[in-house]
């Protein structure tokens, strides 16, 4: 019998990670959605959830989580959906498109500056 090469991967199959789901319930997450964790991991949580919560202590994009966890984006979105539905994370889109129009007007900024100087 030929010796097989030793396995280097993980024994987990992706359908066991997602519990059999192959599609995220909502379309809330795209690749660049920023995710922030709202709580610390609790015991008994799935290890992927734990790692996501730890990664999301600072805002991080979905695609980055996917790369860190070495999981397909689809799976990450399903996992994020779980966390979002239980309120453990919040998600927001990066506001790259907003520029001048969204900035507060100069009078407000001046007031803030004045207040800071008066401290």
């Amino acid at each position: 019998m030929t010796r097989r090469p030793v396995d280097l991967g993980d024994p987990d199959r992706l359908y066991t990670v997602t519990g059999g789901r192959s599609r995220a319930d909502d379309e809330k997450f795209d690749l660049v959605t920023l995710v922030v964790s709202e709580c610390r991991p609790s015991p008994g949580m799935q290890s992927e959830h734990v790692r996501i919560l730890e990664l999301c202590e600072r805002p991080i994009a979905v695609v980055e989580i996917s790369a860190e966890l070495r999981l397909p984006v689809t799976v990450v979105r399903i996992l994020l959906g779980d966390l979002l539905s239980t309120g453990r994370i919040t998600a927001r889109h990066p506001r790259a498109g907003r520029s001048l129009v969204d900035l507060p007007d100069s009078s407000l900024l001046e007031e803030v500056l004045l207040g800071l100087r008066n401290l």
Binding site: R13, Y15, S22, S42
Partner: protein
Amino acid sequence: MSVPVAPKPRRIRTPRPLPAAVPLVSVAAAGAAGGAAIAAAPAPARGWIAATVLVGWVWLAVTVAATALNSRRLHKAVTATGGELRSLQTHTAQTAAGSAHLVNVTLPTVLKRVRDGESAESAPSAPPAPPDPHPRGAAQPATADVGGAGGGTAAAEAAAANVAQRLARSAEELDRLTGVVLPAAIERLRGGASAGTALAELEQPADPRLRAALESIVREFAFSERRAAAAQGASAKVLSRVQAKAVSMLAELREMQDRHGEDVFGDLLTLDHNTSQLGLLTDRLALLMGGRASRAWNKPIVMESILRGAVGRIAAYQRVRLHSSSTASVAGYAAEGVMHLLAELMDNAANFSPPIDEVHVYVEERTAGLVVTIEDSGLKMADAALRRAEEAVAGRFHDLAHLQSTRLGLVVVGLLAAKYNMSVSFRPSSRGGTGVVVLFPPQLLHQSRTLAPEQPAHREAEPAPRPPVRPLPQQDVRRDTRPGAHGAQRSERPGGPRVATPGGLPVRPPGRTMAAADRGRSGPEEVPADRPAPPARDAGAQFGAFHRARKARDDRDRYDTGQ
């Protein structure tokens, strides 16, 4: 022995002869009467009457004389007959006595002597011979016959003894054949010897028929063994190829899952699941056939992955609920076997519970090892079924001959449990179904020697186990109290160079805020103050500490998020 008593000879009455005077008196009386008659008669008639009386008297006298003569002769004859009768009676009595002697004394004596082994010829001379020659003559052939019969009996007895001896010898040989030779032959054949070798090494029975039987049995058994071994080997070989194919398919599917988008992801998962189930089936057969599991892991596998790897191989994996907060890992060499064992038990639980009910899997860490409980809420197993299952998982049924076509899984569980020294026991579940308790010995757990005592303390100190990241610094602290860990930990301290320069300035790793880096830096600086003095260490412990420290650093590199 009752001997007919000879009848007493009857007394024979001999008739007495009439006295001789009686006829003479009667003749004289008749003469006197005649004379008187003649005297009385008238003269004219006297002559006629005298003549008549004379004639009558003469007739009478003649008759009387003849009668007396006859009587006397008859008397003589009667006397002679009586004497003869008496002698005959005497003779009869003697004969009867002789017969009685023969029957009562001579023949028993002869028989006894013949039985005692004397020859038939010498036997009759010894007892007192019957006095009568006739019984003696009769005794001779009888004793001869008895003697002949006695001789026949002795011969028959000798023949019977001979036969019994031969029978005993045959029985002994047969016993030896069945009790010693055949088991030895079977043992040799099972050990792989050929029929010829086995026969040459064996002690052959003397009886040619037994020899032939032994040879045919051994040859037939060798043939069966060879056929079984060939079938098993061929199956294992073919199955190993199927296993390799399944593993490569799984790897390809995993790669496709990464590469392709959501539109085909579900289909890929379905294929993945089917291939995994195929892997379980082929692994089951391969293990039964003496082959190996399809995969081998070169690293410890954490319990969560073990459970998920197991549950992914069964059809009803969505009904299985895993409850595990254990951070223990199973050593790589045993991980695949453990996964297969758990998969078989979960499959069993899922198959024997209603399709809407869930199967619950619990993991507990105990000092005796790791306990995995698989509980279903199906029907309680019947006692007989429970006993059969217990027997199957006890690992006693190594022989393929005991296989039932539908009960392969539990036999494989038994094989694996015996191989890895795990204990599997069934009990009624509190949920109404059956619970299976699997105990992993500490040797199966990765670094159980150092980690096992720490687990309870670890759980208390860290109520929220977050496997890779949070426990690491704490484990480092505890490890430092172990022999040899201190120096290695300090020199290899992963946190130091990563979050602060040797001069104490904070270093911000990419992707981290400065504050987080600073927080991370405070940890390693505080720790040395608590450390005890480094105890003596040996090379093995030093190497272990080095390995752990490297591992800790690797993990930190991957998961570091700051404290």
